[in-house]
Amino acid sequence: MIRWLALLLAVLAAVSLFIGDATLALPDRLILWQLRLPRTLLGLLVGSGLGLSGAVLQGALRNPLADPGLLGITGTAGLGAVIAFYWGLAAAFPPALAAGGLLGAGVGAAFLLSFAGGAPSGPSLILAGVAVSAIAAALLALALTLAPNPFALAEITFWLMGGLADRPLWQVVLAAPTILLGVAILLSLGRGLDALSLGEDTARSLGVPVTRTLRLAAVGTAFAVGTGAAVAGSIGFIGLVVPHLLRPWFGERPGALLPAAPLAGAALLLAADMLVRLAPLVLPLSAAPPVGVLTALLGAPFLVAIARRGEP
């Protein structure tokens, strides 16, 4: 099953290199290197971080509605990047954007863990996440209100919608190590998440360090989505949807979803991004909409469908 998923991802990645605004042919080298390759790589990295952190957080919090946005880490990462924009740091020193996002995610994770208390449990982490999200949203609104000029405002707003287009290759390369580190941390948590299926006390009685597992889930998520959110903006619903798509195929054991989740997240984001690129060809749009718009539009009905199906 996981081989088919990997194959699907490889096909999507290859096609993604060849789909553009107008043509479905081998692009010339400049377009390939400057546009298509960064876009495809960014989709792979961001999608895998989002998909995996969604699977880990749902397992760790025993909550089918958990996703990286729930913990507020996407929000603080966006805030960090916006502050880098706002102070002109990103213009003066380009890596400041990714660094701002990672810093924001790190501060968000630190707040999250301190709000959740000395020995975080699932519900305390969720409550802390709501608090961190609220703070991030408020500070973001403040930053937008104080934006130095209308252009900066437009730039920030457009960036916040989330997208993979027109990100230079060096930004992608800058974001890659932290995303991969986050993915590595999250992939190591499988056994602990399996034990947590039976509750935190039972997991503890099985010798699983529950507090450490929850902390690593939060920190790993900060790495896996922090710089990604700084470079690609906030792309919602991938982390929420991926585990639900995988469960019918891989079973419900949380650890069984982990190897597949990054592949599925990357495949989903690439597919959504290709749909977005094709949208101007079939719809009366002057430009391709940001991919975050599409994932939210498709993800919201999916959320409703999950709620309708109810608890199994």
Binding site: D194, S197, L198, G199, L206, G207, G251, E252, R253, P312
Partner: protein, 226 residues
């Protein structure tokens, strides 16, 4: 040897256990009885090392089954039982298969625990305990949700397990099962051990803890006939 000595526990501002001492040796099947809120589950958690002031025991040797255990996800019966191998960090299948067999749910191994009956799910949780092949089994109401035949089957299994040299401590509301299968009955009331007796002498103390009449009637019964 497993036990606690002079243990007091406070949960949410209420003292749940007052200076409780209990030692259990291998080969014993001990039933913890008492009314709701007597501190049975807390004592079991203390034995499992799950209270803040109790040391963490070796999870390979001690297995704990909480009251009302359920799985957050639709794991299969076999996957639930296999969680018992987590302390051993292996994926051994033989202990899992054996555990499913002794708990009588081999036929359900691929069924999801959230789509079987409550009694079957309870046995899946119990199979998780047996799959880790512990020296000490701490079971909170293992026969809850089970029909009488399955309850007696599980109690016979626990008796055999204790006779094989393991330590079994079981919280039971069903006094008849406790008196019939356990060798030793510990009665708790209001967080204190009020009796610690061989099973054949425990009925008066147990009945008293529940506030039930127990008198000169030559055939022991818990309630006067209607």
């Amino acid at each position: 040897m497993t036990g606690v000595s002079h243990l007091s526990a406070v949960l949410g501002g209420r003292t749940v256990l007052h200076d409780v001492s209990l030692t259990v040796v291998p080969g014993e099947l001990v039933a913890l009885c008492g009314p709701n809120g007597a501190g049975k589950s807390t004592l079991l958690r203390a034995l499992a090392g799950l209270l803040p002031d109790t040391g963490p025991p070796d999870p390979r040797h001690i297995a704990w089954l909480p009251q009302g255990a359920r799985s957050a996800w639709g794991l299969t019966v076999e996957q639930v039982a296999a969680l018992g191998r987590i302390p051993h960090r292996d994926n051994a299948t033989a202990p899992v298969t054996k555990a499913l067999r002794v708990c009588g749910i081999e036929a359900l191994r691929t069924a999801r625990v959230d789509r079987i009956s409550g009694g079957e799910a309870r046995r899946a949780m119990l199979a998780r305990v047996f799959a880790s092949e512990p020296e000490v089994l701490l079971l909170d109401e293992p026969t809850a949700d089970l029909d009488p035949a399955a309850s007696h089957a599980i109690m016979r299994l626990l008796r055999t397990t204790a006779d094989a040299g393991r330590t079994v401590v079981v919280v039971l509301h069903a006094l008849d099962l406790a008196l019939r299968y356990a060798r030793r009955v510990v009665v708790l009331a209001d967080g204190r051990v009020t009796a610690d007796l061989p099973a054949d002498q425990a009925l008066p103390a147990a009945a008293a803890a529940f506030g039930l009449p127990f008198g000169a009637d030559p055939t022991p019964r818990l309630l006067p006939p209607c």
